[in-house]
């Protein structure tokens, strides 16, 4: 048996991190993170919310889903999901943006 058993202490830590992340994302949502730099506007609320969500998801994948201790093949499969997702978004938005369908920038 070469299976890695993750101790419960690790799970408790991850659970607390996820709860803290949820609290943080709610608190951050009520604060206006829009900044003006010269003529440009940076609306940072959504990037901040997404950064917190990605961090939470990474903790779930690495520890709850044991990917950190899994074989290389599992790593390849997980990475491939992200790769296809990037293609889906990048190619679609390359199309929409170059047609000028959006009045706003991000």
């Amino acid at each position: 048996m070469s299976e890695h058993i993750v101790p419960v202490k690790v799970y408790i830590t991850i659970f607390l991190v996820l709860l803290a992340g949820t609290l943080l994302t709610v608190l951050a949502a009520f604060h206006d993170f829009t900044y003006h730099l010269g003529s440009r506007t940076f609306a940072l609320n959504t990037p901040i919310a997404l950064a917190i969500a990605v961090t939470k998801a990474t903790f779930v994948v690495l520890y709850f889903m044991h990917v950190r201790y899994s074989t290389r093949l599992v790593w390849v499969i997980v990475t491939s999901a992200l790769f296809w997702l990037v293609i889906l978004f990048a190619l679609t938005f390359a199309d929409y943006w170059t047609r000028g369908w959006f009045s706003i920038g991000w």
Partner: protein, 247 residues
């Protein structure tokens, strides 16, 4: 009769070992890999909906923010906590199976199931609230088409729709199509997950899983955590996008 070494090995092998696998470890790794391949297809499935969300939100930012502000942030946040806790109890269920603590295993699985059902219950309360306020899009509910009451300046009734400058009721409806599609599909995954966990509980009580053989617990756990991850993204993207415009 002289037994060949291979035959002896088979007699000693774990009863759950399928004949096409060399040993339990190979069988477990194959199962985990298979589940991950399935989850990749699930990520692409939800990815399409996240893409639709991103496109329409870019097109109608004020409308999406107004629509989102009508959602109940407290219920959404509580549900996030419930789901994270259920992921924790699921992870603990896998751990207790790995170390052979059967009582803890059954307890953790039952807790996971109850938390999953709590999530669905809270979701149902939210859906009913949207039904009451006529926010279910199109003609999905016969006799109750989409048609929320729009609040005037100074009206703080939370059952009315509060439109931000530039927002229209028609585009708010687009948000609610996406909201119901995404949370509905997520809830369907929760229902399937609850069914799978019920199956795990039955076989745990029968004592089928042990430190040598627990692939089903591990693999259904992966699925459950995946559903949790989808919600981790849905919560800020659906509930929190326009809160900073409110004051």
């Amino acid at each position: 009769m002289i037994e060949s070494p291979a035959a002896t090995e088979h007699i000693q092998a774990h009863p759950a070992l399928q004949h096409h696998f060399e040993n339990m470890e190979q069988q477990r790794e194959a199962g985990t890999l298979g589940m991950w391949v399935f989850l990749v297809t699930e990520i692409m499935f939800f990815g399409g909906m996240f893409l639709a969300y991103t496109l329409y939100r870019s097109k109608f930012p004020a409308d999406f923010a107004s629509a989102s502000n009508h959602l109940d942030i407290t219920l959404g946040a509580v549900n996030t906590g419930v789901l994270i806790l259920s992921s924790f109890t699921m992870a603990t269920a896998v751990w207790s199976t790995q170390v052979g603590k059967r009582q803890t295993q059954i307890l953790c699985l039952v807790l996971t199931l109850l938390l999953g059902l709590t999530f669905l219950g809270i979701k149902a309360v939210e859906y009913y609230d949207k039904y009451e306020d006529a926010l279910v899009p199109g003609q999905l509910i016969p006799g109750r088409p989409f048609g929320p009451e729009v609040a005037q300046e100074g009206d703080h009734d939370r059952h009315k729709l509060h439109l931000l400058p530039g927002a229209t009721v028609e585009h708010v409806q687009m948000f609610y199509w996406i909201y119901f599609a995404m949370t509905g599909m997520h809830a369907l995954h929760m229902v399937i997950g609850a069914g799978l966990i019920t199956f795990l509980i039955i076989f745990s009580v029968k004592g089928r899983y042990d430190p040598e053989y627990h692939s089903p617990v591990e693999v259904i756990g992966l699925y459950w955590h995946f559903v949790d991850i989808i919600w981790i993204f849905l919560f800020p993207l659906l509930y929190l996008l326009g809160r900073h415009f409110e004051h």
